[in-house]
Amino acid sequence: MGTDIGDLLQKRKVEFSDLANQVVAIDAFNTLHQFLSIIRQRDGNPLVDSAGRVTSHLSGLLYRTASLVEVGIKPLFVFDGKPPALKSETLNKRKEVRESSREKWENAKAVGDLESAYRYAQASSKVNQEIIEDSKYLLSAMGIPFVQAPCEGEAQAAHMVLKKDANCVASQDYDSFLFGAPVVVRNLAVTGKRKLPGKNIYVDVEAEIIELDETLQALEITREQLIDIAICVGTDYNKGLEKVGPKTALKLIKKHGDIYAVLREKRAEIEAVDRIREIFLNPDVTDNYEIKWGKPDSEKLLEFLCEKHDFSVDRVEKAAERLKAASGARQKTLDQWF
């Protein structure tokens, strides 16, 4: 997913508390996908209610968001709209991967190979319409705002940071930078002990912050050139050049200036390269949104999560308490009076 340019970026560790009072525009799809693949039982099965409906995403949204809000972070979720036409190939491919993973998962479970079952189960998770609707309903009940993007959620989130309606984007993907996000936080929703995919090893995942300007300065390139590097490596909208990874791409773009010169030099072709650049440089975004944090509706939460989806009343009540405590008056800092 997204573009594999992570190795080129300047990352810094960040503590949750450093993000206090900051408005964080969270890439909803990306985060829900993380919840669906991480929050699982040992055999790889996602959390489900008594009717067999998946609830991993609801669990993640409730407890994770409560932890963010608790330290004073002001989260808002940005949902994807209609994907650009150019993305269809990527989306089809993801679908294929999911379907074949589902088969392999079933097979692995049948033969009792739990480790593989877990891995394939993770790869088979999908954010479907019901999951999105449920997530939006839950966010409303929690008093957490969300924004519907016309197109790519990451583009909308980046736009909101550029408009100063948010301080940073939270996403695992690096595409946010290509859309111009000045600051991106990674691992926000997944900090803590995490199992490495495909291995029986657990690591501490820490949140990290990446600033676009810092990266561009360090690499001595422009944002446009970063986009061109991404196109060389491959994005959601195109396959990359043969045998070109991020480091080679950086060298190529720095040497030749832009993607067009690189293509000429390599006698290679990338379909619709103008349109791909355009998606990143002038993404389809909207100014029509409202961001407002409210108080959680405990009754709604209990009804939706406990009655409908069999969550523990005790735990939901505690999470509602945490959200409520944080939704009241917030401690200001002196900076704003200077």
């Binding site: 002001k74 407002k292 917030r330 401690q331 200001k332 800092t333 002196l334 009076w337 200077f338």
Partner: protein, 245 residues
């Protein structure tokens, strides 16, 4: 050059008032006295501290700046007797402060001031209301509030100053009219403050006759009072909590 002698209790109270805000400070030493401006790490509270040369039994100094770990000073003053005299002398060449108290000679290693957060600017605020009250009254209201909540609302309504704390189920309110206050300048004021900070800030006011509060609506509060029998002064500036919109 800095050489001074001061009563141990007086110095301890002054340092304690400052230690509420930060652990490490830059002391600005001048011929007319010592001053500190410091902000807590979370940027929520500021302390502005002045101790004039007349607070000292002996005092002579040129201009200099030293970095001090307040906890270390508090520790050694903790051992001193209230009536002891503390004698201090700066050894500029090796960044040490020599402190003699109660027959003990300490050599205190100073911190490099450049490693301590720089002095903040003090914001110019127009605060419409001013309340002067007895320090013990303020302390009492804060103590009562602590029992049921983690924040305290302070405001002025017509000729009444009020402090109010609301918990999940209970609330407590203290109202003081003009006759119970030392002075009151009425104005629209109502702000909420964290008791985490207030509790520490008002601790030293117990011994203080006059505490001046300057308040606004959803604005920081200034809490000023004299220390060292009028030879020094401390002002706290505390940012409010504001209901999220």
């Amino acid at each position: 050059m800095f050489k001074a002698a001061i009563n141990a209790e007086l110095l301890r109270d002054a340092i304690a008032a400052l230690a509420v805000i930060v652990d490490e400070v830059r002391f600005k030493i001048k011929p007319e006295g010592i001053s500190v401006k410091a902000v807590d790490p979370a940027n929520v509270a500021m302390g502005i501290f002045e101790l004039g040369s007349s607070a000292f039994e002996e005092y002579s100094a040129d201009e200099s700046e030293i970095g001090v770990d307040l906890n270390k000073i508090m520790d050694l003053l903790g051992i001193a007797d209230k009536s002891d005299t503390v004698r201090m002398e700066l050894e500029e060449s090796n960044h040490k402060l020599l402190i003699d108290v109660g027959g003990l000679s300490y050599t205190l290693s100073l911190l490099d001031p450049s490693t301590i957060r720089a002095e903040p600017r003090v914001p110019q605020l127009e605060l419409p209301a001013k309340v002067v009250l007895n320090g013990a009254d303020l302390r009492r209201a804060v103590k009562a509030a602590e029992k049921i909540s983690d924040h305290l609302l302070m405001g002025v309504s017509e000729d009444t100053f009020y402090m109010e704390a609301k918990g999940d189920t209970d609330q407590v309110r203290l109202e003081m009219g003009r006759d119970q206050l030392i002075d009151l300048k009425a104005g629209e004021a109502c702000s909420l403050f964290s008791l985490d900070y207030l509790t520490d800030i008002v601790k030293p006011t117990n011994k203080v006759n006059e505490v001046t509060l300057s308040l606004g609506k959803d604005f920081p509060i200034f809490i000023d009072f004299e220390i060292a029998n009028g030879a020094g002064r401390i002002s706290y500036l505390l940012a409010p909590r504001i209901e999220s919109d």
